[in-house]
Amino acid sequence: MLRTIVKSIHQAAAGLNGVSAAAVVFIMLLTCADVAMRLFGKPIPGTYELVGYFGAVIVAFALAHTFVERGHIAVELLVDRLPARPRAFIEGTGYLLSAVLFGLLAWQSQVYAMDLIETGEVSLTLGIPTWPFVFSLTAGCGMLSLVLLLDALRQLKRGLAP
């Protein structure tokens, strides 16, 4: 049961990561196109703000998958030398704390996005609303929080097993 949930959550995280990869290609092509058009005196308006906005998508959507692949750098020096059970307990507790952190970030970014909808904040050149990109932070942090929570449960179960 838990295993199938974990598997589908990890698949969703990989899906978000695919969007992140596409966003990398997008900002690369957009920036190059802007540079090329500048040679003809016609730069693409709004490149600067679009690249920044999609930069947020790149990082936010890669958060969860990067954790699944253990890509977030951690100091393994001490904990990896411990026996399996205390190690699982320490890792589980750490993931639980981190899950709370990213849960808070997901929640607060949603509040922030709602505020932005209300105030109607838009970008300077193109007039694109900011809130959808703030929601990408909600999605990314929420997904990471979920992945962390499931991993925390697994490790704590292992660490506390009689």
């Binding site: 690369m28 890509g71 977030h72 750098i73 951690a74």
Partner: protein, 433 residues
Amino acid sequence: MTPTEAGLYGFLILIALMFLKIPVGFAMALVGFGGFAFLVSWDAALQLMTQDFFSVFGSYNLTVIPLFVLMGQVAHHAGISGRLFNAANKFLGHLRGGLAVATIGACAGFSAICGSTSATAATMASVALPEMKKYNYDPALATGVVAAGGSLGILIPPSTIFIIYGILTEQSIGKLFLAGVIPGILMALLFIVTIFIWTWLKPELVTPAPRSTFREKVASLAGVIETFILFAAVMGGLFMGIFTPTEAAAVGAFGTILIALAGRNLTWKGFVQALHETTRVSCMILVIVAGATVFGHFLAVTRIPFDVGDWVRELPLSPNMIMAVIIVIYLLMGCLMDSLAMITLTIPIIYPVITSLGFDPIWFGVIIVVVTEMGVITPPVGINVYVVGGVARDVPLHVIFNGALHMLMAQLATAILLILFPQIALWLPAMMQ
């Protein structure tokens, strides 16, 4: 509890959390958030943290990171490192320790299109180690040279560490990149000198590879042209002020893809892998930057940066001696900590001290990078050694560390020369104006 005390406790808790294997970016955000909530208010801390994360992730200036990472990854998957090594090998391979010298040359070349030490070490390990094994090179020498040579990735531009330092201290990334060029070449030369001395003292460690013909030498040069074009286009555009760093990186990444496609060296699978590596590495870096930003805001409401500044200024030491102490502290921290975490954590405190003592910020950026390079090959946490160990699975880690520590001499010599003659770093950026 005074704010200063809260800051000190914050530091201690942060170090504890990091050693309990919480990812460093997460730990910095946790403590920064908790500390700010404790000193100011929960609501303010929550809002500040969210805005910090969104502004770091959505920063135009920081999109330079995924783009330069992509450039290096595509270069790796397109086999550029192999062609660089082949050319260096044709010219230098027949010397005593020549394959190791060629490895350093190829590392320096690859560093000109890649901004990370571990990526440079990984790609060169897969190319150079089998060749050195074929000629019975001592495993400690072979792996140590690759691990140390890979560290050139952050000194020769582009460089993720210069980018992060430049953004944290509001210094020009273009100038920092320029400042890294001559020290990078100097360090590569000192690595080569180290190899010559090492193999002169212990000739049994290596067997010479055969001399290649003039025709082979000329033919191998074709493999260097692509790197030269990319470096010239990207750095030339940046240094002449045609490109912002993000534009230079985008043009570089796209150019690398086009050159790889033109030479039929890039498969769809390789491209997808490069993209996945890119999102993973960029996400890791930017989460650390975001975490450090949150932690930095907490530090700002403690009085720690001021207290440390006052304390250092009252020390009965000359500025150069203080610099020496700072470098030793960085060396010790670099042994234990990830380089990026170390820099993002210490710069808000150390940087004001450095500038108030009258040191040049660009020069200090180069010093930080050189010290970081030592950190990636020193035990127990030497990321490059682990990367090389991942490729050379038959060589134990302590053997690689042993080999890399021989090469540390060259890095130390570079640092000392930079302190004695700051112009090594500052001459080129001064030409930019």
